[in-house]
């Protein structure tokens, strides 16, 4: 049953306030698709009943579930491939040289979804940079969604997920078969610090980052929100650090504190070097 306009605007407002994700007109189908299962599980026959319930109890657990369901989690291992190639060929070797004194590298993946992005990076590091075994490699991976974080910590993937972007060599080396699923090995899982974090809210203490991945999430936000998040990343990023965005995202005309730099086949964003006067 189609969602009523007033219910759609209630849900968009709710999602927007909680996550900054903008559900513009035309996304009614998405709301119907994602919320129907929640209505059913809650024993509510229709979406207007679900919205009614949300209004009655404006802070209840149902809200969290609706927000989780509306923030899309589409991801895959080594998504787009070339950012990981650039990491391997250029960015990580350079940072290993520059950080030789502290022997510390700090990574942040700011929209981890079900974990493919942080685990891809960790596998790439293990495969190519054995010297990092004696370094402090801090990898923080965050997401808004508790369901997603639970999946990350478990690290289990179905056949379709391991078929997407994951080289077979890495599947057999880093995953154990668990029934019909594959689970990434514990030492990789334990090497990533998964935390709940809403990009719109204060982030709490974080170390200065060398590499930040914030891919395919800014796309859902309006410009002021994008700018605010990018400015805060700018403050967190080392002056010689690297920012990676999704293929359809950019800092250009949004946050001029960054400049884009094409490395290999990917575009990275770097803090602009301030000219000394």
């Amino acid at each position: 049953m189609p969602i009523r306009p007033e219910d759609f605007s209630y849900v968009s407002k709710l999602v927007r306030e909680a996550s900054a994700i903008v559900l513009e007109a035309g996304k009614e189908y998405l709301v119907e698709l994602r919320l129907q299962p929640i209505a059913q599980q809650a024993g509510l026959a229709t979406l207007d009943k679900l919205v009614e319930k949300l209004k009655q109890d404006p802070t209840g657990p149902l809200h969290k579930r609706v927000i989780d369901a509306m923030t899309t989690n589409e991801t895959s291992f080594f998504r787009d491939l070339h950012p990981f190639e650039t990491l391997r060929k250029d960015v990580v070797p350079e940072l290993i040289r520059k950080r030789a004194d502290t022997r510390t590298l700090n990574f942040w993946c700011a929209a981890a979804s079900s974990g493919q992005e942080p685990f891809s990076t960790m596998m790439m590091l293990r495969e190519n940079f054995p010297e990092l075994a004696s370094w402090r490699v801090n990898y923080i991976a965050t997401d808004l969604s508790r369901d997603m974080l639970a999946r990350c910590r478990e690290g289990k993937y179905g056949q379709f997920e391991v078929s997407r972007g994951l080289p077979a060599q890495l599947l057999v080396k880093y995953f154990d078969r668990r029934g019909t699923e594959w689970q990434i090995k514990e030492d990789i899982r334990k090497a990533v610090d998964f935390r709940e974090l809403n990009l719109m809210k204060p982030w709490g203490p974080m170390p200065t980052m060398d590499i930040v991945f914030i891919r395919n999430v800014l796309i859902y936000f309006d410009v002021p929100t994008k700018r605010d998040i990018l400015l805060r990343i700018h403050r967190l990023l080392a002056p010689d650090g690297y920012l990676f965005l999704g293929g359809a995202e950019t800092t250009v005309n949004i946050c001029e504190e960054f400049e884009s730099q094409v490395i290999g086949r990917t575009t990275c964003y770097r803090p602009k070097q301030r000219v000394k006067v």
Partner: protein, 123 residues
């Protein structure tokens, strides 16, 4: 760009061939491993080989070993496309000389991503 697609199921050959055609491949089809070897001899080296595992006459595993035994075919990117999903089977296929492994069923998107991993298409 040319691809050799080896599968005993005509339906599967057509699914794979259609996906490959949309990204610019000419496709040569073969119905089992031995036919695949004949097609290789007749048409020369393709950019990529996609081969099923379980087939009559010569299965995909034997086909891979036969291909890799021949010097000039050793570097052809080769992907196994099969319903076999046990880790031990993936390990065997890779050890025999497959470069990638795709489990059935799959979507055209997954096929495309695997080809990008093989380096035969741009991601």
């Amino acid at each position: 760009m040319r691809a050799l697609v080896i599968d005993d199921s005509a339906a599967m050959r057509n699914i794979i061939s259609r996906s490959l055609a949309t990204i610019g491949f000419d496709v040569v089809q073969a119905v089992h491993g031995r036919d695949g070897l004949d097609k290789l001899k007749a048409h020369g080296k393709p950019e990529v080989i996609l081969v099923d595992w379980n087939m009559p006459e010569m299965n995909g595993y034997e086909f891979i070993k036969a291909v890799r035994a021949i010097e000039e075919w050793r570097d052809i990117p080769l992907m196994m496309v099969t319903t076999e999903t046990e880790t031990s089977q993936v390990v065997r296929a890779l050890a025999a000389g497959a470069n990638e492994y795709l489990m059935k069923p799959f979507t055209p998107e997954m096929l495309g991503e695997k080809l990008a991993i093989l380096g035969v298409t741009m991601s």
